[in-house]
Amino acid sequence: MRAPTQGELAGPRSLGRTLVQAAGLVLLGLVPLGLLWGNGYWVNILATAYLFAALAASWNIIGGFGGQFSLGHGVFFAIGAYTVARLYLDLGLTPWLGVFPAAALAMVVALLISWPTFRLRGPFFAIATMAINEACFALANYSDRITGGPRGILVPFRAGFSNMIFIERWKYALLMFGFMAIVVLITAWLRRARLGHYLMAVRADEDAAAAAGINVLRVKLQGMALSAFLTGIGGGLFAMYVRVLDPPSLFTLPDIGVKFALITLIGGIGTIIGPVVGAILIVPLENFLRGSLSGDIPGGHLIVLGAVLVIAALFLKRGVVGAFLGVARRRRGAS
């Protein structure tokens, strides 16, 4: 058996203190926005970074705390995006409300596909969820009545608060930041809640967790439901942010499903603030590389991203936050 790593065993800290700490760290995320205020290009990238931080934090609930390596979160993301767009276009429902049925639908679908696939462990679960993602990719291309098929859906630009469409990019940045803050606070709460402890017990050893009286399947399903619900909201925000929804932009694994996991890995799997750190590092890096490399080298930014993924898997298993906590702990131990 492996020794429990940092963050795996609950310390004596109270829920209140964890929440305050998480809130403080999240507020630090506003610093880059303040520094780059007025620079439309970078504010835009920050908005994406905040959104992906929130999505990675949602993935982290089941992927990090629960140890269930889902590659299928693109499905919940896409359901959120398509539902919000359809409700807005067909029924005129404001996206502020539309995200809730969208997230609920993502959650229901997540429960339906997870119930059989949660019988699988480790890499088998990852393969099955990847297959789900690809199958839904094909279905989205196929059912043009709902998704517009390969051409996709275009949400017309009608700026206005109730449409969640803004001219100023900083409004999007604040919107995404708010969503990120909510997701991070939910994970901070989860970390101290019964469900969080159950999820971590399942990750550490499923058989032992079951022997200790934990209903493993139910815990996994609860974690997945929460994760998919939040991912669905993220998909809805994404829909109103980019306003062009075609299947490749919602289902491509390296851009969506795997990206959530990658960001979490870089920041620190199973930590509260890791996904935020990961997104604030990876999203701007990727945009910068795309701008500077892809003109000369097609796919250049993805070469770097692939290499980062391999190197992080080899040498940075606990992410930036994990490495930082490790150093801090050693220093405390030495003094």
């Binding site: 480790g122 088998f124 391999v310």
Partner: protein, 296 residues
Amino acid sequence: METFLNILLSGILLGGIYSLVSIGLNLIFGVVRIVNFAQGELVMLAMYATYFCFAKFGIGPYYAVFLVAPLMFLLGLVVQRLVLQPLQNEPMMQIFATFGLLILFENSVLAITRGEGYSLAGAYSRAVVDIFGLQASLSRIIVFLAATTIAAALMLFLQHTMAGKAIRAVIQDRQSARLMGINVSRTYLLTFALGTALAGVAGALLAPIYTLSPYIGGNFILAAFAVVVLGGLGSVPGAYLGGLAVGLMESFAGYYVDPALKQAIWFIIFVAVLVLRPSGLMGQAGAEEVGLREQG
């Protein structure tokens, strides 16, 4: 009846392609317990290497295979030692690492070729053979025969040689295998390289059939996973027959349902098998959980 036979034949030949691609994946999966998401990209690399042999040196794909397969074996040795060996007991990190390799290989080829599509098809896939009045392309028949030969040779190798017996012992129980004096870490290394070399064979033989693209690996990998899950972990006949089964299902569903839904059909097969019989049709029951969290 004629249509039916045509669909049957094209399904079997497509199944040959899936079998060929899946055998290497299944060997790696069953023995080393690594889910190699980059297996399709290994096939893709071999396809480009084969094209390169033809374009630069005029070596045809059916000769180039003897060059490409050993090169892929070497690549397999390097990848296993540098990337996968250090992650042997960390399934989650393995997924990250092999997915990183997938993105890396795919985009490196994209960068080198600048997205230009290459094709050997003009020179090789026109030849057509007549089987009892049905037309079939020669290059696909060669793939089918190669898949059959490789499956048979691999089964003989696993049954009758010491190295093959060591591999089977590791599939069954790596702890006990180690206690019996088998060098498990070297078995992993050689098996992974062998699986990579088989991807090389597949790539060389498939080069005349497909138009080359950096993303072509994605066409194989999901089908190959479906085959592996269907056939059973680490089982060579399972991969071979599973490949044929998936090829037939895709072919019939493509004709009678809709070709656009083939991925959905793989997925249904997939989940049905995973749920009903997680060890696959020809796998050892319970094999899917062996070695996932074990030390050593």
